[in-house]
Amino acid sequence: MTTVEETAVLAPSAAPAAPGPKAATRRPTKLPGETPAFVPYLQALPLALILGFFLLVPIITIVVVSFWDYDFARVIPDFILTNYQDVLGSWVTWKTYLNTLKYTAIVWAITLSIGFTVAYFLAFYIRTATMQTVLFLVCTVPFLTSNIIRMISWIPFLGRNGLMNGFLQSIGLVDQPVEWLLYSDFAVVLAMVHLYTLFMVTPIFNSLVRIDRALIEAARDNGASAFQTLVHVVIPLAKPGIAIGSIFVVTLIMADFSTVQVMSGGQSASVALMMRNQMSLLQYPAAAANAVVLLVVVLLMVAAILRVVDIRKEL
């Protein structure tokens, strides 16, 4: 049964293959109206320039500066490894990385569960495309203000005499104001979840709406319960979206310094915050070495995510 089909497929491809070798030996002749060879390079030039100036040059600069020497007032061009020895040899760096990774893990897990739930609701429970778009725009409303404003707006809510403590005390749940609501790891995680969940919702939603509804029916037809359908059909097919969302969230948290600074009240450190402090002390080469290490760590994390999930299907 298969042979008929396969010969049918093979037959047409066999015919044009015949003149192949002849065509290969002939030198390519220019047809009238054909574009000159340099045109494609010209077309690629604008993007190459943008990437070169805004991505390549800064990174090369950072790498070069990370090998320079410095004292309290100057940076001195040199080639030394002291900066890296300082970064990797200091227990403060390791502790800070551990702290940042802790935030990353917690916030990733929370944004993933909230993001998947919201995206699932939007994709499967909202029937019309118009309503999906409207609700999706509602999700983006917080983004109309800046990150800092959104963070700071938590302070009167979570503070010692804030709305939350007032409420808890008025219903008699606590006698004393709860101290850990603000300027704590809890506050940092809460603010990060608030800031970054949308980056999870968008790509997952995008993956989910592409799932053919017939597949859900087919799963049901094959006796899968709602939960089995979720585990065996929906989540595997949402993996590319989950991976893209995870890359967004992980890179954003690894590079975050303002949220950690504001919401922990200066009691917690993050890798980017450490760099900022070094820069404010004019220790640019040390900050640059730190940046290179962070870049490598984040690239390794992204590579790990891409190893688990093939996102090319999505792009």
């Binding site: 017939a214 597949l215 029916e217 087919a218 094959n222 006796g223 899968a224 319960s225 059909v233 097919l237």
Partner: protein
């Protein structure tokens, strides 16, 4: 294999808000029947199939499979299995895992379910492709995997939603023959939704022609072609001339119409040739009668070329009195 079962629809109705998609249809399909639900798009044939499958709720009436009413049962507990229009193979699972999916949902262990899946793949001649992903298969191969996935649940009845529509015309005819062979070998009923009368004629033991949510006619293909119950049926299955005779609308099969020179047939209708279409064994001649009725005559090539006509020629058409068919309705 599951015991084949009879299917009965008793005044089954489907309403979507205010519109009625399926209007109180009743139908009996004996075990082991190849049944085609045929009709134009929007006639309710897909809704009917989806109600039988359990993917659409029944607004009114009963669906009886074997000796139980299955209205409120989930799809997997009805004893039916569905093959979807675009096959709906899980793109992230290999062919074997696709076929074994329902067994996995039941919690059957891996060696057993793989063995069962491999048996099914052998049945549809797809054993060499067990490790592939659906995207690496041709349309015809995907169709066979979908068939294997449906059959692994041991259904009493198989529901097919336009199973051939995604295939190219050449493959369609071959796969059509395969479907018929599987149905005969398995001995269970196939209910096959299609809008192609040619497909229905070729496959079905029982053709059910639907229009506007109602059954226009249900019967063997031959009965339907020879004695269409209504003007709609005659027009839809094609090959029929519909014309008024003595104040009644009747049908005359196009292959029973003969062309004669005007002088030879005092009783014949005068007509002008509008088109001729050579089809090998036949020539299809389009005509317009004097009263403006459009007619089609399907003439055997031998007869046609013995006395050929060309577009614009005046001729006459005749038929036997016995070939005039009056509609029952």
């Amino acid at each position: 294999m599951a015991r084949p079962a009879d299917l009965e629809l008793a005044s089954v109705t489907k309403r979507y808000g205010g519109t009625v998609a399926v209007d109180s249809i009743s139908l009996k399909i004996k075990a082991g029947t190849y049944c085609c639900l045929l009709g134009p798009s929007g006639c309710g044939k897909s809704s009917t199939l989806r109600m039988i499958a359990g993917h659409e709720s029944v607004s009114d009436g009963d669906i009886v499979l074997g000796n139980q009413i299955v209205n409120d049962k989930p799809p997997a507990q009805r004893g039916s299995a569905m093959m979807f229009q675009s096959y709906a193979l899980f793109p992230h699972l290999s062919v074997r895992d696709n076929v074994a999916f329902s067994l996995r949902m039941k919690g059957i262990d891996k060696p057993t379910r793989h063995k069962r899946a491999d048996e099914m793949l052998a049945l549809v001649d797809m054993t060499p492709y067990a490790e592939r992903l659906p995207a690496q298969l041709s349309g015809g191969q995907q169709q066979r995997v979908a068939l294997a996935r449906a059959l692994v649940t041991d259904p009493q009845i198989l529901l097919l939603d336009e199973p051939l529509s995604a295939l190219d015309p050449f493959l369609k005819i071959r796969v059509r023959a395969e479907l018929k062979r599987f149905q005969r070998e398995l001995g269970i009923s196939f209910i096959h939704v299609t809008h192609s009368q040619e497909e229905a004629m070729a496959l079905a033991d029982l053709v059910v022609i639907m229009s506007h949510g109602r059954i226009e006619q249900a019967g063997a293909p031959r009965a339907i072609f020879e004695t269409p119950a209504s003007e709609f049926v005659a027009r839809f299955i094609g090959g029929h001339n519909i014309l008024p005779i003595f104040g009644k609308t009747v049908s005359v099969r196009a292959d029973r119409v003969s062309l004669v020179p005007q002088d030879d047939a005092p009783g014949g209708r005068r007509a002008i040739v509008r088109s001729t279409e050579y089809q090998g064994s036949n020539v299809v001649v389009g005509l317009v009668a004097e009263d403006g009725t459009e007619l089609v005559a399907i003439v055997p090539d031998k007869v046609f070329f013995a006395r050929p006509v060309e577009v614009g020629d005046a001729t006459a058409v005749t038929w036997d009195e016995a070939d005039i068919h009056e509609f029952a309705a």
